[in-house]
Symmetry: C2
Subunit: 392 residues, 2 copies
Amino acid sequence: MFRQLASASEVVRILLDKCEPVGRKELIPIAEARGRVISEDVVSPVDLPGFSRAAMDGYAVRAEETRGAGPLAPVYIGVGNVLGENTCVPIRTGAPIPDGADAVVMKEDVVLRGDHVEITAEVHPNRNLARVGEDAALGETVFWEGHRLRPPDIALLAAVGLRDVEAYQMPKVAIIPTGSELVPACSGRSLEPGQAYEINGLMAELYARAWGCSPVRAAIVEDDPGLIEEAIGSNLDADLILLIGGTSVGEMDHVPRVLSDLGELVVHGVRITPGKPTAAGFVGNVPVVCLPGYPVAALAALYLFARPLIMKLAHRRDELRRVKARLSRKIVSRPGYLSFARVTLKGDVAVPVMTSGAGILSSITRAQGYVLVPEEVEGIEAGDVVELTLVE
Amino acid sequence: MFRQLASASEVVRILLDKCEPVGRKELIPIAEARGRVISEDVVSPVDLPGFSRAAMDGYAVRAEETRGAGPLAPVYIGVGNVLGENTCVPIRTGAPIPDGADAVVMKEDVVLRGDHVEITAEVHPNRNLARVGEDAALGETVFWEGHRLRPPDIALLAAVGLRDVEAYQMPKVAIIPTGSELVPACSGRSLEPGQAYEINGLMAELYARAWGCSPVRAAIVEDDPGLIEEAIGSNLDADLILLIGGTSVGEMDHVPRVLSDLGELVVHGVRITPGKPTAAGFVGNVPVVCLPGYPVAALAALYLFARPLIMKLAHRRDELRRVKARLSRKIVSRPGYLSFARVTLKGDVAVPVMTSGAGILSSITRAQGYVLVPEEVEGIEAGDVVELTLVE
């Protein structure tokens, strides 16, 4: 039997409390840095733009010479190749502003008449041009430590001439599937009666990668305490270990005991359904989350426990995507347990998937997301609006 | 000057109308198929599970022999290794149900007394077991054409023994930066006065990849109609061409004219700001979007025009992430134009970025997202709730 069951939120709090974001850094080419979190403030090594440039096609002028210009009171200025008193210079968008000029009059506000122009709009200094360093000044901090790089951010790094950026390393997640009945997925090996393909490790690996980690999937470990201990021991360079299977309270469920022997078993048994056999703890400073072997329970534990840890390890704060929808029929849940209820979204109507089996993977594949039904309620009524977390 | 300006929604409608999702298919290993869209219905080649299996630790029984059992009226049945009349068999979660048994009594509802058990709960047939094919039946369609694969979906494919899946090819997006003043980004080459690094192509490439495409970034093309024509011509195997720069109405802005000569220029000039010089059309069946050279305008055009096209080409329907927030101060916008207003999110308060420059990249890098201010309004007042689209 399980000892005292913990609530999901307690488990998350305990794990997060004891886990530190990855501190290791590395230099990476900016073109490969999308989604990466920078590990130091980035200061612009140059002025951007490096020269005053025209923001419009038109004429570079001394602003004061356009004073009072208007449609009914045009100002006449000569046109030349060199700026001078009462001489302006034609200019194209993006071109350097000639020395002495401090504004650009838009082409639309000018009529060219031979060797001079008729200017029909006054401009103020700095009008229609980008000043030196206006986008980023030499020495200005353009990004702070902890910023997660998006394509326009990378474009700015490129614009100031940077080629590499220092970022936190992606958390290394070791995934260790356990179970003597398991056969490697995608191996092409056929199944004997009683056997199944190892699919949770594959699923965990895909999520770990999607959530910004560098996953390492270990070979399947048999239900043997010594072998499980060995597998954990050889993955202690990871930032997070995900053990899969063997977490229940049967004779062959060695995982929690091994964790307890090697380090600290913080929790075994959580008030969530499915996912009750989830266990978690630490070996040294390495957090270990033991996911139940049933795929739906494994998914619930990945979302509820592994993901918050991964976000912290990876210096990320991004939230899951949620939508509101009205329930087509009642979600039946188990009071005292946080329920991970699978729901299909049809337009803005949420239809609960009618299956309770933690082993029924198609209850997820037919769902767009899940609704978490709080411990203290006995279900959610048809017609109520629920918040659905989309399964990525 | 621009000819008639089109509205952003008209442009999107015209482009989408004439563009077809990519029809090319390929077989890919399932472990690499996350995010891919399947191109044919997937039918399970086996029953999953392939055998009836216990869903609980307990005893495999003939359900009828437990009839009437309760805490005050236990039923006594013998225990053996082989199921028979009045003989049940101990069983572990996941193990095959022995022939003749049709239910499992949970361990919790049983007291073992030597060679027999005392059962204190009645079970119905199929209770606490997974039937053959319950998750996926042989010949059952588990995914339909057009489904985008998530990790649990891939786990189901692996569970039924599939190793590859047929998916639509990722749209090939050719990115062609133009501009004689441009120097390749990340090249380490220093800039002469008047030059700038080519950053929009890099940004477009990163977005195209993030949005599920296979991007190809061409070399920078000078502002020469013949060279631009050549670059388009050698990329007509793409599903979408993104031309960058040279879209305005200056002397060196050849892109729209070249597009018009080679194929059909559908629009040149859109009522958005920034982004007015956006142009679009088709060469043969290949849609071509011409992004303005100013980076903020390029970003606006990527989000407003390239992304909807890419989603259609890629058979995707996923929406951008949006959040609601209250404006800290007024967004000033230009009536008659759809405004792409950059906004910083501070908690649930949206702070407009105070810059109007389409060339000021830091107006994006300092923003979490953008608010689209409709054409018909003159801005949005402080205190109003706006919907902010997060910049990915």
